[in-house]
Amino acid sequence: MAVATLPHGAAAAHGDHGEVDQLYVETRALRLQGFLLFLVSDCVLFSSFIFAYLYMRNSGQGWPPAGINHLDVAFAAVNSVVLFGSGATMHYALENWKHNNFGKYAFFMIATIILGAMFLAGQAYEYTNLYFKEHVSWAGSGIFGAGFFTLTGMHGFHVTVGVIYLTVLFLQSVHGVYTKDKYFGLTAGTLYWHFVDVIWVALFSIFYLI
């Protein structure tokens, strides 16, 4: 893990080429750990709002609050499947990149971006429905509106960032920024995308299932 434990002489044996690779291996370890810690702190941000929402829900005013109809669980479930499906395509995109299969990589990467955009469209449809038909709003519907729109909005923001991020990564890979051996950007993008998926599991559970 630490610099100290790298195999002795591995770099020296391969001359210049080996030196660059060792530098890559070490900086990749740094960047991976840093990115994972960033995701941990992002997870704490979501957890705090989830705690706040559940705390308010249980602070004794009765649940569900009067005047709030139930959410459209079926639609949200289909939308969730779209998002989880994009997690699967993202996984295959990275696997194909590792196996030097650019055609399949491109297919799965574009599929991921499209599925992510579809999820956002679904969320926009759901927000519009809630606002115009059910008259549920961010500021005007008590703790339900505050919790629901803040948390799903934060998640939607993450998905939006993710779609842009994956698009940039895809364009970079088309322009040859990444190679078969050096593709940390794609790894980070995959981790981010799976993270966004996992957060949605929690949000779907607390808003639609319990």
Partner: protein
Amino acid sequence: MSTTAEHAGGIAGHIHPEPQGFIRRYVFSIDHKIIGIQYLITGFVFLVLAGLLAEIIRTQLLHANGGFVSNDVYNEVYSIHGSAMVWLVVIPIVTGAFGNIIMPLQIGARDVAFPWLNMLSFWIFPVAGLMLFSSFLMGAPVAGWTEYPPMSLLGGPGTSMWAAAIFLVGVSSTLTGINFVVTMFQMRAPGMTFTRMPLFCWAQLATAPLLMIATTALAAALAALFMERQFGVPFFDPTKGGSPIMWQHMFWFYSHPAVYIMVLPMFGAISEIIPTFARKPIFGYKMIAFSSMAIALAGFMVWAHHMFTSGLAPYLQLPFMILTFTIAIPTGVKFFSWVATLWGGKIHYTSSMMFALAFVALFTFGGLTGVFLAAVPFDLHVHGTYWIVGHFHYVLVGGSLTGIFASTYFWFPKFAGRMLNETLGKIHFWLFFIGVNMTFLPQHWLGSLGMPRRVPEYDPQFQTWNDVSSIGSYIMTLGILVFFVNVLVSMRNGKKAPPNPWGARTLEWQIPSPPHYYNFKHIPTVFGLPYDFSQPLPYKGLEEELTDSPVHAGAH
């Protein structure tokens, strides 16, 4: 030589050329030492500003009827004083300044893991500081540094600015935390196992996860407060279904660990200073290291002891009380270890050591009153009184700020290349030490008698001790002025610092003062703990550090 050559291809052998030009060198620098100094200077500037606010408070309280500033202004003053001292002075100095300057040197690294991120972390901080102080222009927050709703929902427009500013400082802290964890996990010199790491680094390692995790929880609370104030989203307003108690949970879930963010790094610094000036190996190295981790972990489980009077369910009070008591155990381990290190040592009474000894005494006092406060029956009696003010100023001024002075006297020769004046240091010490006790000790008595905190006027029976406290605060301020004079004079005219003026044994003292841009010509190999004063140094590969030989290890 052979020990370092094998790493020539990796980060350890990778030396960037030093940037030329003023801007890239001293303003938007990516060098951890320069960034640390930037943190230190900015932190001290905010210390002056927040200190002036403190003197407005103490001057107002010279008379039972106040009269120095209006009551509204008084509310703004103590709110910004507390916020600035916590988020703009103590946290940035103990983590951003000393963590940045010293930690990479002590682990034998060339820089932190992410130098550009480090630069970003720093530059967020002065911007956020200016935002915080600019809230005075638009009606500053009036609900104290804790900003409890519903008061904070009613405060002036500056309260939203306050929330945004603290949010930004939080982002800066989070990035610093991530940076430090990765640096210490991945970039230690060969042979420096975790159990050979200097205790200052252990303290930073315990603090960094707090910066990373607890600060994010505060960010959520601040974002919610901002959304409620600006867009009317009902989080905290009870009339719309929100809960003001929830703010207290979210705020203290951060702010109790923040107490340890503010003091753990200084525990680490004291653990370096005491063995150096007692000329003795530190007593209980592993116990001090692990107790930092224990304090950091336990710090997450005690937040509700700030809320005993907020309507917390009685069955929750007992576990929070007991958990809070248990934090005294790892803290006690540290204190007894320091005392045992001093025992039988050959103590050198330098300014740095005097401040370190004062730290031990004053923090013990503040820590003991903390154990008192953890007891629910006692807390119910003194909650919201000057007793609390006395308690947390003993840990923050007597602890963190005293630790900051001890660290500055200790490490100033290393990063500035000049010695601080010892005579001025002693004058600073005695004025500060007498001032601190005179200011904050009487506040315990005022609190026991029932004087509430955050009041601009008070019952005449409290006049005498308030006057003692105010005069003490002037003496303390005078001491700090002597310190600034010392720093400014010594920067230009101080004696040139040798590489190792104190005879200390950690890695940063084995290289020139101030260190080169690349820190080490060759990354050394470490064979043992840095505290065995009777033994030869446990490092190999440092032979060329103090010579004029050019740097060549894989430079490009």
